[in-house]
Amino acid sequence: MAETLSIRDTARREDAPWLTLRMREAMEAWLFISPTVAGFLIFFVGPLIAVVWYSLTEWNLLTQQATFVGLDNYGDALFRNPDFWHVVRNSVIFAVGLVPLNMALALLLALALSRRFAGVIIFRTVFFAPVVTSAVAWAIVWRFLLQGEAGFVNQILAQVGIDGPNWLREPNWAMAAVIVTRVIKMVGLNMILYIAALQAIPRDYEAAARLEGASGWQIFRWIVWPLLGPTTLVIMVITTIGSFKVFDHIYQMTGGGPENGTLVLAYYIYQQGFQFFDVGYASALAMIMFVIVMVLTIVQLALRRRDT
């Protein structure tokens, strides 16, 4: 006690007589954090306020004028523009298709790769490789593979007598193709999160259950799966939000087509804002996306709280 007092006194006397140690520390802390806070205000808070304002205006880039129109843009989206619900439907289909497929595959791979055997590192490396690859490159190669007749996938299918569809030119097939290729690209990330969680489970649990005569499935169902709960939830949140944000993949593979069959929310915002220059409407869409992602996050976090 005496020692801390004396340190404080020395600091006060020598460095800055008019500052207590605590104030000094706070000032230094603010200096440390000021670039982050400044960037946060300039590139996030400011734009977030601006986008609320934009969304309440009729603003066409060609006319260069913003006039206040209240909630008109939201009304356009929710009630008058049929495209909007089509786009939301696409986004939901994309998420509903991608999230379970991604998570199931990730868990399956993790179960196979969480124990040690010859070559396990090679397999992990392989399944993770698309994660570090650029989405654009990945989409380009798959677009090449999935071409109508000349595409490799269809040539292989033809070998076994299947007449493959023109994957990226038919709306439903295009959606399926976009989902599956995205899963292949991203599943490695969830796989390693699951592997980490699986390896954190004490080996004794499994050994004890085996002694009691539990089958492999029983061990998974009643021991492993419940212990994976928190990880599953985190993965679900990340993957769901990620699926609503998907843009580059779809831009490169289908351009939102065919017949807007793969036009998802993030792409729609880009299209309205930066291709059609309808800033007010695009901003309203951005706000709606903001609300959707927030609600999804809060619901999933609430679920976690209830579980634990």
Partner: protein, 284 residues
């Protein structure tokens, strides 16, 4: 004895089955890379002929034409220097902020942490429109500034901040206290004690930030319009004929050039890279 043997054989059989299943499952993960490189070496004619796994005629010329079709070397360099700049900036900014949040007491710390976490969840599409007008107002459209500033201070940088904070929190405090006793300033403690001890976290931030910048697409698409300012993801889809149809042999050759260095580094440092993603994924 025989029982033991059969059990061992069973296990071996089991292992073989698993390995075969995994090999089959790996095809869609590996084949695209192989096909990309293989097709990058084919002539335009061969690409549309019956498929061959290996080029019938190795067309090295593709890899030269890639550089004649557009300023690909310049675009390659752009991607590289932007990614390096963003990485260095992010390391400095996020480790400073992360250190303050982990180690220093100040009014508003909890609030700042909460606000930053909230921002993490907001997709960049939400704020990209106002950011565009701000950059245009500042005269920074069609420059590389947005591609440097937005990732450094956006959700990418915030995630790095939390990763650093988490790591600093787990470090023993005693060394830093000793440093302070020896008369080091806060900045000195951060630089010569805290940072050297957090190499794994710094490496994780560096790896993820670099890759994210290298692969960034939405921001270049919106902010950059002149060819010699393109970054790789923009340049790749730009190998088209005058009618806008892709010149596949060039496009795939260029894609190979963009992907392979990353893959090679990944194969060398796969353990470190995968761990980095695990670290950030759990936190994010």
């Amino acid at each position: 004895m025989t029982g033991f043997l059969t059990q061992r054989r069973m296990r071996l059989l089991n292992q073989v089955c698993w390995t075969v299943a995994l090999c089959v499952a790996a095809i869609p993960f590996v084949f695209p890379f192989f096909w990309m490189v293989s097709s990058g070496f084919k002539s335009a004619a061969e690409i549309f002929g019956s498929p061959s796994l290996v080029p019938r005629e190795w067309q090295w010329r593709n890899f030269i034409e890639v550089f004649n079709h557009q300023p690909f070397a310049r675009q390659y360099f752009n991607s590289l220097y932007i990614a390096v700049t963003v990485t260095v900036l992010t390391l400095v900014v996020s480790s400073l902020a992360g250190y303050a949040l982990a180690r220093m007491r100040f009014a508003g710390a909890a609030l700042i942490a909460l606000l930053l976490v909230t921002a993490l969840m907001v997709p960049e599409e939400v704020t990209i429109i106002p950011n565009f007008f701000m950059m245009r107002w500042a005269g920074l459209v069609d420059t590389h500034w947005p591609l440097i500033l937005l990732p450094t201070f956006g959700s990418q940088g915030i995630m790095a901040t939390f990763l650093m904070r988490q790591y600093f929190l787990a470090l023993p405090k005693e060394l830093e206290d000793a440093g302070k006793m020896d008369g080091l300033s806060r900045l000195g403690v951060w630089w010569s004690i805290a940072l050297p001890m957090s190499r794994p976290a710094l490496a994780a931030v560096a790896i993820i930030t670099f890759l994210n910048s290298w692969n960034l697409f939405l921001e270049p698409l919106i902010f950059v319009s002149s060819l010699e300012k393109f970054t790789l993801p923009l340049a790749l889809s730009n190998f088209t004929d005058p009618y806008g149809m892709p010149l596949w042999h060039l496009q795939l050759a260029a894609t190979s050039l963009a992907v392979i260095p990353i893959l090679v580094v990944y194969l060398i440092a796969q353990r470190q890279i995968i761990e980095s993603f695990a670290l950030s994924g759990v936190k994010g």
